[in-house]
């Protein structure tokens, strides 16, 4: 009989995991279940539903720290932070739009479990850079903690890094403490119009290498920009390359002027002010441009920024691709027509020389079961990762197969 355990405290999480171990019955670990479409599908008769562990434990704006239970809605946390002029600086992705689900359904636990970071990643780091500490129940059925509530901490191994991006395969987290940062007073976006991918890559590199503290660098080729809901972008009539400047008012205004001067050689320039900037970067963050048609397959490629345009050129050869760039060219959102194998061999062969990786973000479950969703690792590294899994969850009762078949 399939059961859904819905604990309301850590002791009950312990009971559920202990039972799963003794019954040799793997558990699917869920927060708010908004990202089940991400990662490998796997079979588990029983569910550990952590949605009863919700709520903010403490929030101390002057300490730049917030602690919450795992199923606390991410959106709720972002509202609380915004009231005090703060934010999650890694700009978590809302996967809702891409999966055809309502926006803002995700939990803070899921956000860290998937380590999905938005455009500000290139300046402020990823989700993994913001988790300070956690409490969890391991797959051994033991409650343990790691880290703390302060940024400067080298006491013991940094298991927060390991937990972030582990898709619930190591432990069921019962509490997370993370760093928050002041939100910018003002956000401007410099738009370069009509650049091809090569020129855009050079422009983004020039911007990133300037002293102007660019906090986002994206490129929407012609055909993608028209899908924006921001009129300046949609009506540009061709490709747009966007560079975000944010911070204190006088600083943003001056940096915007100076950056436009420095990039004048690249051609026509426009700028977006705060309201449109916020809207635009949320679109880039959530890859909304590729959401429709819903049957296309979506990949997320991470490569060295200078390699991005070459990767895209190679992928576009003889293929119906839709693409846009983030992270100064280093993050490629790629949409392919439906196929049986998501063309994974070809996609990964193109990415391989750059040393980067490719993640199959959206595809029907049968394809995600058959094709490696995450970049396959060389055998010694894969073996080491499996031993790390076993050090937390030797009986493989927590989300086994969510990342790699059988593990």
């Amino acid at each position: 009989m399939a059961s859904i355990f819905k604990p309301t405290d850590e002791a009950q999480v312990l009971d559920a995991v202990a039972w799963a171990i003794s019954a040799e019955a793997p558990l699917e670990v869920l927060g708010r279940a908004s990202k089940r479409g991400l990662g490998r599908p796997f079979q588990a008769d029983h569910t550990l539903d952590l949605s009863g562990l919700s709520g903010i434990n403490f929030y101390e704006p002057e300490e730049l720290v917030l602690s919450a239970k795992p199923a606390t809605p991410r959106a709720e946390i972002e509202v609380v932070l915004a009231e005090r002029g703060q934010m999650l600086a890694f700009e978590p992705i809302d996967t809702g739009p891409l999966f055809g689900l309502p926006a803002d359904q995700g939990s803070i636990g899921g956000t860290f479990a998937c380590n999905l970071s938005g455009p500000r990643r290139i300046k402020m780091g990823a989700a993994r850079d913001h988790l300070l500490g956690f409490n969890a129940v391991s797959g051994r059925g033991e409650a343990f903690k790691s880290g703390g509530r302060v940024v400067k901490n080298v006491t013991g191994y940094d298991l927060s890094k390991l937990m972030t991006g582990s898709f619930g395969t190591l432990a069921a987290v019962t509490e997370l403490t993370f760093k928050v940062l002041p939100a910018p007073e003002k956000t401007y976006t410099v738009l370069l119009l009509g650049l091809d991918d090569g020129a855009a890559t050079r422009a983004m590199a020039a911007a990133m290498n300037s002293v102007h503290e660019v906090a986002g660098a994206a490129h929407l080729p012609a055909g993608i920009s028209g899908r924006s809901s921001v009129p300046y972008v949609a009506n540009a009539g061709g490709a747009i390359t966007a560079l975000r400047l944010e911070g204190f008012g006088p600083s943003v205004e001056q940096r915007c002027r100076e950056l436009k001067d420095e990039l004048a050689g690249f051609g026509a320039i426009e700028e977006l002010h705060s309201r449109n900037s916020v809207k635009f970067w949320a679109e880039v963050r959530d890859a909304v441009y590729l959401a429709e048609p819903a049957d296309r397959l979506i990949w997320r490629l991470s490569v060295p920024p200078s390699a991005g345009q070459g990767v895209v050129a190679a992928l576009a050869m003889g293929r119906d691709v839709e693409v846009f760039y983030d992270w100064s060219g280093g993050l490629i959102w790629l949409s392919l027509p439906p196929s049986d194998d998501a063309e994974h061999i070809a996609v990964r062969a193109v990415v391989a020389p750059s040393g980067g990786h490719a993640t199959l973000v959206r595809a029907p479950a049968n394809i995600r079961a058959a094709v490696p969703v995450f970049q396959p690792q060389p055998a010694p590294l894969a073996a080491l990762s499996a031993r790390v899994k076993d050090s937390f969850d030797p009986r493989r009762v927590l989300n086994p197969g969510r990342m790699v078949a059988g593990i």
């Binding site: 819905k6 990643r121 780091g125 993994r128 400067k152 080298v154 009986r395």
Partner: protein
């Protein structure tokens, strides 16, 4: 400090081990003479000394792999060492271990401005990376105070911080990739010039693992454009409470300074005696707040920080008007350790972290402990991130003083944990804080960490005796008590 009991059967095979290591690293790469090994007998925590069994200085990753595979096969312990500047004894040798020095891995391999990355060997110094890129206006952000000497490989082992990590992050936030060799001799590459490699974040795990998980043989770091402007405020306060409130309100106002340092009265006077750059001698607490970035932003924020400082009762306030003046503000802070060294035969530097708001409380407690132990203390803090460096003043030649200082230091760290903080902010656990780990972690917590170690090093050969107060065999840690068939269905809400 109790170290693992040396294995006399390994020491008995010393000559044979030397011979094998010389086959792997020919020429001068194996050091076996007592006199020549002497420089390796301690690191930055010089109160502890131990001669290594043998020192080996490979030059290539393949040699590191061969050495480790050999040692693993023979059950020989290995202690990795970078520049030997650890303040926690992370590179302290063992009598029955091979000391593996990475000093010959001293080349910068690739400077890539297009991708804002540098690929380097681990023996290159922290400052050496900045030197390789500063001609184009770039720098490597983490700046431990030993940056002229410490190696980037050691920075990864310790997850080193520095004055500017409040704004720019620690080592872990600035490393993009590494190549490392496991104790079994497998060469692994994780990360690179791209971001956020998938699978478990072994890069994040390796950073700060104190040489217990693997030996780093190549590093890719991100580099940043040097801010166009930096200015500092030097602000005196009549009480540490006011200084602490100022720190909290600056951050509460949404300002993240490049650096925010605090010194107490004994530290102020020691520094002023030493470099004399005009610190207010009567202040109970002194803040240095540095703002960096575009000029217009810096000037704007200087004004806002000034307002906050004045609202919190600043008794003196100066703003640097040029680089010479900014350097002068920093000169006292940067020389605080040697300055204190002049007024005492010995000092011990502690490294706890507390939530910022606890600054006045920890100062009260340190002051009370100072009276209790009848030992003077000077306090230097990275106030912006709550990282404390109390300097305990003592005389090792007086019987019992070293022990008292160690007890005093332990009491300070226990107080840090009580106040919601941690044992070490940037110096590492090493051997120094090893036996205090139980103050912060339960046995279950520590056993889980050691199981992670077992995933990398099942025979526990890599840097044993560091970080963990008790060594357990991996087989023992792996055991599970399973109540097969006896576990009732859990009594929790289900559907």
């Amino acid at each position: 400090m109790l170290m693992p009991k040396p294995d006399s059967s390994i020491i008995a095979r010393r000559a044979e081990i030397i011979e094998r290591l010389r086959q792997i690293v020919p020429g001068e790469g194996v050091i076996a003479e007592q006199d020549e090994m002497r420089v390796y007998e301690s690191d930055g925590l010089s109160a502890y000394r131990q001669m290594p069994m043998i020192v080996v200085l490979p030059e290539k990753t393949e040699q590191v792999a061969e050495i480790l595979a050999y040692c693993h096969g023979e059950g020989i312990k290995v202690v990795p060492r970078g520049a030997g500047t650890s303040l926690s004894g992370g590179a302290l040798p063992l009598a029955d271990a091979v000391l593996l020095g990475l000093g010959k891995f001293n080349r910068v391999l690739d400077v890539d401005f297009k991708n804002r990355a540098v690929v380097t060997q681990p023996g290159v110094t922290n400052l050496g990376i900045t030197h390789a890129v500063q001609h184009d206006g770039f720098y490597y952000a983490p700046d431990p105070s030993s940056q002229i000497a410490c190696s980037i490989g050691g920075n990864i082992a310790e997850n080193s911080g520095g004055v500017h990590c409040l704004k720019y992050g620690l080592t872990t936030n600035n490393v993009l990739g590494i190549e490392f060799v496991t104790i079994e001799g497998e060469v692994m590459r994780i990360g690179g010039k791209h971001l956020d490699s998938e699978g478990y974040d072994l890069l994040g795990l390796m950073t700060g693992s104190e040489g217990l998980l693997g030996v780093v043989t190549e590093v890719t770091v991100r580099i940043l454009k040097k801010p166009s402007t930096a200015r500092a405020l030097l602000v005196g306060f009549a009480s540490s409470e006011e200084a602490g409130a100022c720190v909290a309100q600056v951050i509460g106002a949404g300002i993240i300074p490049g650096g925010m340092e605090m010194m107490d009265n004994p530290a102020i006077n020691a520094a002023e005696d030493f470099v004399g750059t005009g610190y207010p001698r009567d202040a109970a607490a002194l803040l240095i707040v540095e703002l960096d970035g575009p000029e217009v932003e810096v000037n704007h924020l200087i004004g806002r920080v000034r307002e906050v400082a004045e609202a919190n009762g600043a008794t003196s306030l100066r703003v640097s008007e040029n680089e010479a003046e900014r350097d002068a503000f920093w000169a006292g802070r940067k020389s605080a350790f040697p300055a204190v060294g002049r007024i005492t035969p010995d000092y011990m530097c502690m490294d706890g972290t507390i939530p910022r708001k606890m600054l006045p409380e920890i100062l009260r407690r340190i002051s009370a402990l100072s009276e209790k132990h009848e030992m003077r203390v000077a306090n230097v803090f990275h106030a912006g991130d709550g990282n404390l460096h109390p300097l305990i003043l003592f005389d090792a030649n007086q019987p019992g003083q070293l022990e008292t200082a160690e007890t005093f230091g332990g009491d300070i760290l226990k107080a840090c944990v009580e106040l919601g903080g941690v044992l070490t902010g940037e110096h590492g656990v090493g051997i120094e804080k090893r036996d205090l780990m139980g103050e912060m972690f339960t046995e279950v917590d520590l056993n889980q960490q050691q199981r992670v170690k077992c995933a990398f090093d099942p025979k526990n050969l890599l840097n044993p005796g560091k970080v963990f107060p008790q060594l357990h065999r991996c087989a023992e840690l792996g055991r599970m008590h399973i109540h097969k068939g006896q576990m009732p269905f859990p009594d929790i809400p289900r559907f």
